[in-house]
Structure formats: C-alpha cells, structure tokens
C-alpha cells in the first residue's frame, strides 16, 4: 500500500494529476494568458514613494500588455495611469523613464496633456473638423493603491475593484507596515523561461536543500535539519496564496553572521525568528519555528516578509519563453551604521541565494521545450504550483 501524502491536495481538492507541459511552452497558450488573464487583472507597477509629489511620474512599458503606461501623481495628489499614446496619431507621449512635469507634450505635432490626462493644447486646432478637445484626453487605465503599492488594470471596465481583487490577502496583510520599510536595491533579471516556471521556483521549499546547499546548508529547516523542508502552513485563496517557511532554531552561524546576529537577530536568512520579533499579521498559523511568509498575489506579484526585511518579485512575461523579473529588497530603516552593515549582510546572502534559484530556470525551460515530456509531476509539497496552474487555466478558459 502506498503511504504517499496528499495532505494539502486533499485539503484544497486540487487533485494529484500531472501538469501539461504545453502550459509553459505553447505560444498559443501564452496568447490566451495575455488576452484573458493579464489584460483582466490588477497588476502592481510600482510604489507610491516612486512618485511622492504632484507632477512626479514614471513610465512603465509592459510588454505582455503590449502597452506603455504613464503613472503620474496629479495636481490633486491622486495617482493615475494612462496609456502612453497620443490621441492624435498614436505617437508615444512620455519618452523619459521618470521625471517631474507640469504635463505631457507629444513630440510629433505638439499635442499637450495635463497631469490629469486632459488634452489642453492642439496646434492649429481649427483644422480638425468637428473637433472636441474634451473627448481626446489620454486613455485612462484603472488605477488604485494598496499599502503604498500602485496597481493598474487595463480592462476598460474592470470586473472588480482592487480591494475586491485582493480579497483575503489584502485583509491578512492590512497591519503590515510597508511604509516603514526602505528599498535598498532592485535587481532586474531577464531569463529565457516561462513566467510560471520562474514563479514556480519560488513557490515551494522542496528545492531548498539541493539548490541552496552552498548558501544555506541548514537554513529554512525546522527543528529537524536533516529533514527536507516541508511547508508547515499555507493558504490557498480564490486566486492568491501564501505559505509560511520554517526557520532553523539552532542555526549554526558563520563567524560574520554571528557578529551580525549579535547586533540584530533578524538580519540573516533561514533562521527561526524569535516570536517577539515576528511582525503582526504574519505567521498566520503561529508555527513554532518560523522564518518568513511568502505571499503570492495572482498572477505575477510575490512578496516575502520576514522580520525587519521583505522582498518582492514582479514577473513580467516578454514571450512564452522569456520573463523579466524585478526583485526588490526592503529593510526596516536602519538607525545606526552598524544596522546598515547588518542589513547588507542579509541582502548579500539573499542575492547569492536567488542566483542559485535562477540558474536552473533556463535549463528547465530549454528541456521542457525539447518536447520529451508531456507532463510535469508535482508533489504534495508543490501544491502552490498546482493552485497557480489551476487558476491560470480558469482565466484562460473563461
């Protein structure tokens, strides 16, 4: 008799079937994802502190949406987004990556728009027959902000508000003080891998003892470090999902790490975070040896939160076999220069570890494209991946 574990897949009724490989290799499937998924959901494009003052803007080219967006704080302080396309004959309006402006002028024929997207100037306006300027503002995109994160939805009539879309996940993290966190670095990586293959690698702990054998030989394990990393707790919502990762309560620190931890117990990876240092709203099931919570906001936004630091991934598909990942590392603002060193230590270890994760993805994509395999096998520990493939499939078939 088999004694295989189906604990999570039973609990969430996700089955145990293999996943068809064409979901990550077939261009037609990717086109359906583009039209039926990415064009219909809320997507995180930045943070409020990127545009703190009226007139501050950034331009975000989103290849999977085949558009470029201007995200701008208006004179009234409200954050709005517009397609970066002139209403005259379609030229790109804002050319810089970011800046501060009183408005936006097209460099083709001088049409000018204000910060709220209104068309305010058309040279030789009376040459346009029956022209009504008020009807030709920049094309707006639904925009909203949650905990400082700016989201857009390019569906001209979004089926739900951002708050509805975030649902339980938004409520779970309502107390987390993102505003007290400071961004230290953004890494951008362009990989020849499907966006789900990329996300999958950060949605399970099964890989940890193998992929991170050099960087974290005993990290992210619970009390029994000889055991494989099993997720102690996880939650699957309608679309979003989270898991708690175990931490090692007896992590044997390296010499430099030991000094960092004497200064501040929070600034390394893989260690069990003492209960009194765990942030509010995290470690939802109060697991005994906790290191971080991974929160995956469908479809392409991941944020991991530990104590004193958190990180985000935005996965932007370029094609079925290519993805740009923006990885950002945030820390609680340091008070002293020693605190700065401690944060640097954790950041360097994190960066080294994700370079291990990312080394496997192009090889995986390449071999999946060989066509040798028709299916991928998932263990019960990879239930997060199973959930993602199911939700994507629901959108694609909708």
């Amino acid at each position: 008799m088999s004694t295989s574990s189906t604990h999570w897949s039973d609990r969430f009724q996700l089955g145990t079937e293999p996943i068809p490989v064409d979901r990550v290799t077939q261009p037609e499937y990717f086109e359906l994802e583009r039209e039926r998924l990415f064009r219909r959901v809320w997507l995180n494009v930045g943070r409020e502190e990127d545009i703190p003052k009226p007139g501050n803007y950034f331009v975000k080219d989103i290849v999977v949406l085949r558009t470029s967006l201007i995200v701008v704080r208006g004179s009234d302080g409200v954050v709005r987004a517009f397609h970066n396309v002139c209403r005259h004959r379609g030229n790109r309006v804002a050319l810089a990556c970011s800046g501060s402006a009183k408005g936006f002028a097209c460099d083709f024929h001088g049409w000018a728009y204000d910060l709220e997207g209104k068309l305010v100037h058309v040279p030789d306006e009376n040459q346009f027959a029956g022209f009504r300027k008020a009807e030709h503002g920049l094309v707006p995109v639904a925009t909203d902000v949650w905990k400082g994160f700016i989201f857009v939805n390019v569906d001209p009539q979004p089926k739900e508000s951002l708050a509805e879309f975030l649902g339980e996940m938004g409520r779970d993290l309502a107390d987390f003080p993102f505003e007290s966190m400071q961004r230290m670095v953004t890494y951008v990586v362009d990989l020849k891998a499907n966006w789900k293959v990329f996300l999958d690698a950060f949605s399970e702990g099964y890989h940890v003892p193998y992929v991170h054998k050099s960087s974290l030989p005993a990290g992210f394990r619970g009390q029994d470090v000889s055991a494989l990393m099993h997720l102690p707790s996880l939650g699957l919502y309608k679309r979003h999902r989270w898991f708690s990762a175990p931490g090692n309560p007896a992590l044997e620190a390296t010499p430099a790490e030991g000094e960092v931890l004497k200064h501040d117990k929070r600034y390394t990876l893989g260690i069990a975070v003492p209960e009194e240092l765990q942030p509010k709203g995290l470690n939802r099931d109060r697991v005994a040896f906790w290191s971080f919570d991974a929160n995956i906001l469908f479809p392409n936004f991941f944020f991991g939160i530990s104590a004193g630091w958190c990180w985000t991934y935005n996965y932007w598909p370029l094609a079925v076999d290519r993805t740009i990942c923006e990885a950002r590392w945030y820390v609680e603002r340091p008070q002293t220069a020693a605190g700065r060193v401690a944060r640097e230590f954790a950041k360097c270890l994190y960066r080294d570890a994700i370079r291990e994760d990312m080394a496997r993805l192009e090889r995986t994509q390449q071999m999946l494209e060989s066509g040798v395999l028709k299916e991928m096998l998932l263990s019960d520990q990879e239930v997060m991946l199973r959930h993602n493939y199911r939700v994507v499939e629901e959108y694609v078939r909708s």
Binding site: G46, R47, E49, D50, F58, V59, K60, D61, I62, V63, S68, C97, S98, Q182, R183, M184, V185, T186, Y187, V188, V189, D190, L191, S214, S215, P217, T254, P255, A256, E257, E259, V260, K262, H263, W316, L318, R322, I324, E326, R328, R333, P334, Q335, T336, A337, A338, G339, R340, V341, E344, F345, K347, C348, L349, R351, D352, R355, E356, M358, A359
Partner: protein
C-alpha cells in the same frame, strides 16, 4: 587627515581602504567576484578579528550623513560582509552553480524604477 584615514582605533586597517572601502554594492560584489581567493582571504583575515569592534563603533554613529572616517569604516564593513560569504560559505569568490552575476542588473538605493529598455528586454 588623508583620504584613507579611519577612526583612530582602526588605523591598522587603513592600508585596505583604497582598495576595499567601496561605496556601492555593484563595486563591492564586482571586487569580490573578480579577486583571486587568496586576496579575499587576506582581506577577510585582517578584518575578521576586528569586525566585532567595527560593529560596536558603527553602532554609535547614524546610518546616514557620517563623517568621512566613519563612512570609510562603514564601506569597509560592507565589503567585509560581502566577502565573508565567499570565504565562509562558498570557499570560492563567486556563488557555485549560480546565474552569472553579469545578468543581474542592479539599481541601488531607494529608487526602484527600472529603465524601459530593460523592461522591454532590449538592454545590450
């Protein structure tokens, strides 16, 4: 005061300043990856016995707007933690079996805005 001077208790480490007190992560990680292991070990072994003292000194100064000597000590400390993983974990300058460092485009500091040619995959 020269442009390599450190706070008084750390004068013996001044010979490392010009090469190792580096201001940015890109410079520090590049220095680590491009240095032979014996060079990294020499720097590590010189700084490691003083690291507790460095942390204790830096704990008395603010994280930003430091006097020049303290800033150099901070930069030296930042390079030390960068190098420590090569020496203590990997036994080689770079991370074994990892994505090539040149494929990581790093934007340091609080601005997280990514150039659009990078987002479009057109970075050369």
């Amino acid at each position: 005061m020269s442009d390599t001077s450190l706070p008084k208790p750390f004068r013996d480490l001044e010979k490392f300043v010009s090469e190792w007190a580096l201001a940015t992560e890109v410079e520090r990680s590049q220095k680590r990856i491009s240095s032979p292991m014996e060079v990294l070990v020499e720097f590590y072994e010189a700084v490691h016995p003083r690291f507790a003292e460095i942390m204790s000194h830096l704990n008395g100064v603010p994280a930003e707007g430091l006097p020049a000597e303290e800033q150099r000590l901070l930069d030296l400390g930042l390079t030390f933690v960068e190098v420590s993983n090569a020496v203590e974990r990997f036994g080689q300058p770079d991370v074994p079996d990892s994505l090539d460092a040149s494929r990581f485009f790093a934007i340091e500091g609080t601005s997280g805005l990514v150039p659009n040619e990078v987002l479009r995959g057109e970075r050369t």
